[in-house]
Every structure is written in C-alpha cells, then in structure tokens.
Symmetry: C2
Subunit: 230 residues, 2 copies
C-alpha cells in the first residue's frame, strides 16, 4: 500500500477548501503526516470550493488528492445541492436549509474506507462544535459514536484491533480561534473559499461569507481573499 | 415531504437487486410500508445488478427508486470496482478481495439521510451475519454502533428524539433461510441477480454464484433465474 512507500505516516484529510479544513490540513502536515487529501464533488453549487481544495492540497504537498463524485442531489433535502434559495440572513434558530442530511457521516465513512486502502493512520476533519452552524454531525458526541461504528466496519480493526482515529483538532475552537491557529502554522487563507455561491468573488452576504468576515474581524487581520492585489 | 402524501408509512430499502435485498424489499412491503428503493451505482463491475434492482422496485410498487452515483473506484481497494481478478474459488480465510472498505457504512449513511428527507420511518438492509462472507459491516455489532452514530447525525433525532431505525430482518438467517422466507412472501427470484460478473447469464463459478446455488440446493427448489424457459 501507499504508506509503505513513504517514510512519514499518512493521514487522510477531509478537504473542502474552506477555512477549517485548510487549517486542519496544515496542522496534520505540521504534525509529521503525509497528506492524503479527500474532497467530494457532491453536486454542491459552490464548485469554487473544489478548485480551492486542489490549491490547498498542492500547498501542503499532498501525496495525492482524490475527488470522489457522489450525487447527493439525488436524495434531495438541501439548498446547497438543489435549486432552493440560499439564505442571506441568519435563519431563526434550529438547523438551516443548507443542511445536507448525514453529510459528514457519509464523508467520514468514505474517508475511513480510503484510509484503510492507503494504510493511513488517522482521518482529519475540520468540524467545530462551537461554530457548528446547527449541523448535528459536527459535534463530538457524533464523532465518538462514529468512531465506534467505523471501527466495527473496518477490516483492519477486526483483524488487528488497530483503529484509524478520527481527529478533529478544531472541535472546541471558534472560527476566530481556528484562524489564529492557522496563521501560526503559516496557512495562506487566500487559497481558501467559503462563499456558498460560486462566483468570481465572494458574495459577502451568505451565511458562510458572514461567518468568515466576523471571524477575521475578531482576529483583527484582513481576509487575504479580499485583498484587491490578489 | 413525500410520506405525507401517502397513507402508508415509508421505508427506505437498500436494494442491490440481489437475493437478500430483494427478500427484504418484499418483507417491508408485506409489513405495510411504502417502499423508497435506494440503489448505488458505485463503479461495480456487475451492473446487471442495477437492472435487477429496477425490476424489483417495480415488483414491490416502490414509490420511487433512486440510484445514487458514487465513485468508490476513486478510493480503490476492491476487485469488484477495479480491474483485479475476481476469485472463482473460496479464498483461504479472512476477508475476501471483493471487500469494498466501509461500503455498507457509506450506503447506510446515505440511506439514513434519504430517509430523513422523505420522512421514512425505517431503513431496511439485507445483511446477514450468518452468511456474511467475512465483511465486518454485515454484523449486528456494527449495526448497533451505526444506529447510535446515525441518530447523533440526524436533524430529526436531535430536534425531536425520534430515531429512524435500521432494520435487518435477515441478520440471523442463512441464505437458505432468507430464500425460504422470500418464497413464503411470494418473491420472484427470477428478477434478482447475484453474479459478480455482468454477463447475459450467471457465470456459475464466482463466489456469489456458488453461494446462491448452494442456498437454492439447501432449500431444495430450482433457481428460477437458471430456468431455460425464462
């Protein structure tokens, strides 16, 4: 398997191309892992994300960057994959319409399978239960239950008892905290993409743009993506 | 949601078009559920399965039959999705090369998301831990852990406490037991497909053909798929 051909242990990083997953990719690399970047082409409307993910994968010298196509639009349910209206103002309480049911569960299950195939020793994911936008599968309680299920679905675990741990280094950080950590690690946030719309420049009004702007403001640094010189 | 437009409660059935999932689809329908059939086009070489799944979905009057494309070949690892040799004789112990890492975990996560979108009350899956071919994610221990993770990833569960249970009616049945149950329910096994190869007629020598033949022999009935009058 791949990991045997590299000196460093491998880590699969779920890489959307956004702030959080990019921070985690840099953190995993700084921790000594060879990066196996994994992205999904799931019918999301903001495909600029995938270009950002490819740029980040190059920036962290990923061993490989796999993009798995999965047609989540076929099961419906989210404004991100269909023709629904993307909200431009915070929605009143509860779970927002941008929720794709079970999305992180699906993505993690593929990541765990991929990790087993390439012999990686960890799966990194950039979720936070602080700024989790109301998505239930961004919480530590879900991740703990997921780990148990993934172990019991794993050939490696069943045969050798070795688990492939899911690591969520941002779980208890605010988005501002994640940005501070990333800046300390040398992350180039100009490579990342957050806007739910996939235009040439961020719309500035969708939920994701607003959260990003608030986080950079809290840290007190300009967002390099908005630098007119780029 | 869809379920509100039908009198019967809905059940998502993971339908591969093989013996087991077909038996489960008939069982769910006989139990009063409106069927939401879910199949995957995951780069499997035996695409005849998908045609069989469509025929079974029609036979159980499915409300709808969704086929989700997911490129599991992109993460590699199985002789079923790549160019590897498909074994024609039982492999010596352990987990066979036809294993797709985390496959049932991935499929279940999509099924749970789909169930939430359409308001279904259960997810049916045809796994058995008796004739489970060495796949770890066919075992009850995995399903119990999966249920916990799926609940914690679910908007419905988090908001209302209502779980969407995964039901595995064949878990403790041999394949012969499943066939006996299916015959009692009126299943037309001539609609199903098991062969790992996708030729016009079953190869008769792959692992899946062998298990099927042994099961029909144990029940003492001919396999209708092999009836020359079909």
């Amino acid at each position: 398997m791949h990991a045997q051909t590299h000196e460093r242990p491998g880590a699969v990083v779920l890489l959307s191309g956004g702030l959080d997953s990019t921070t985690v990719a840099y953190l995993a690399r700084a921790s000594g892992y060879a990066i196996y970047a994994l992205s999904f082409d799931y019918g999301q409307r903001h495909r600029r994300e995938l270009e950002a993910a490819a740029a980040v994968a190059r920036a962290v010298d990923a061993v490989e960057h796999r993009v798995v196509r999965i047609d989540l639009g076929a099961i419906g349910g989210s404004s991100l994959t269909g023709d629904g209206h993307i909200p431009t103002t915070p929605e009143p309480g509860g779970i927002p319409s941008t929720w794709v049911p079970a999305r992180n569960h699906i993505f993690l299950a593929v990541a765990s399978g991929y990790a087993e195939v390439v012999g990686a020793q960890a799966v990194y994911i950039g979720v936070s239960q602080v700024d989790y936008s109301g998505y239930p599968d961004c919480r530590g309680e879900f991740l703990a239950a997921y780990q148990r299920a993934a172990d019991l679905a794993s050939k490696q675990f069943v045969e050798t008892g070795r688990s492939i741990p899911v690591v969520a280094p941002l779980l208890y950080l605010s988005k501002a905290g994640a940005i501070q950590l990333g800046l300390a690690l040398g992350v180039d946030y100009g490579l990342t993409w957050s806007c739910y719309r996939g235009e040439a420049v961020p719309c500035g009004v969708c939920d994701s743009c607003r959260l990003r702007a608030a986080a950079f403001a809290a840290v007190g640094v300009p967002d390099p993506l908005l630098d007119p010189r780029r």
